[in-house]
Symmetry: C2
Subunit: 170 residues, 2 copies
DNA sequence: GAAGATTGATGAATCAATCTTT
DNA sequence: AAAGATTGATTCATCAATCTTC
């Protein structure tokens, strides 16, 4: 992937305005920005996590168990929390189990369900990986806390709007 | 993917603060927000584009040709503009070509290079797909123009910071 | 019948290796 | 040797279908 000598998003905005007027421009630029930001951030996070045998998706699943009360959760519950499909949970847990960060066990009360439990090695890796992410400021570069909160706030509006979770002020 | 009864990002923020103090919390929440926003937006955009035989990635490639001066670009140049790897450009153009939106032709001056050219059908689809995206406000829901610009602005800082393009205020 | 999880198949994205042209 | 593009292999995510248990 080569170097760019101008802002491609601003450039696209100019083209857009010329062809379709100004009304759609802010939304189009915002979407493109989010897509590009995600691409940049994911690459940085995965680079930092790779030495620990993790991808960002696996890291999120591991942290969910790390913070859970008993260190274990049913796979279905993890899917809802992470907002991914059941198949993805199976794959994520497969990856974590293969590396010894998690074990599978049958659910004591519901024999349909499977429980994922974080191991000691998983806890140690979770701590180390978090340190690694902190060292790169989660990929957010030189952005100040205020800017980060702004970002989180705007996206929160978007998520409520999508029915991601009920509006607490609603 | 089921329903959630609280904000999982805010919840994660509380756990984080308890274990690692407050310094990392804003960055962690911002990253998670961007990831979730991208997931939501991409799903909406792809739903709207699917009737037109497009994914968002293919849409971006098609619009790049749509706005290009001659309606054609070398594949390498497209990769730099879209910030994707050469293999991805090959795959994207394969998809667009299969649907008759683009044709391949040899570069007149450089026999190593391939030129992608948008067809009339491609131009018509580009217009229709853009109308479809406008109708859903590019997936940005009820966000106001000011909020969209805020989002674009913060991400712009992040992108400059990543060396995505040179800082114009340098 | 519905919930929970897994398997096998498909689509998208990157990587390494290859081939041609410069 | 380096640039431009493609092929084949790997990874990841989702989808449809299946199997067990509720």
């Amino acid at each position: 992937v080569g170097e760019l000598s101008f802002d491609p998003i601003a450039e696209a905005g100019r083209h857009w305005r010329r062809h379709w007027g100004r009304s759609a421009v802010p939304a189009m630029m915002a979407v493109t920005s989010v897509m590009r930001a995600q691409q940049l951030l994911l690459a940085r996070l995965n680079d930092a996590l790779e030495p620990h045998g993790l991808t960002f998706a696996r890291y999120e699943a591991l942290m969910l168990l790390f913070f859970s009360r008993r260190g274990s959760l049913p796979l279905g519950k993890m899917g809802v929390r992470l907002q991914v499909h059941p198949t993805s949970v199976t794959n994520l847990i497969d990856g974590l189990e293969k590396r010894g960060y998690v074990t599978r066990s049958p659910h004591p009360n519901d024999r349909r369900a499977t429980l994922a439990t974080i191991t000691d090695a998983g806890r140690a890796t979770a701590e180390q990986a978090t340190t690694a992410l902190n060292e790169i400021r989660f990929g957010m570069g030189s952005l100040k806390a205020g800017e980060l909160d702004t970002l989180t706030g705007v996206v929160r509006r978007l998520r409520i709007d999508a029915g991601d979770f009920p509006d607490p002020d609603g």
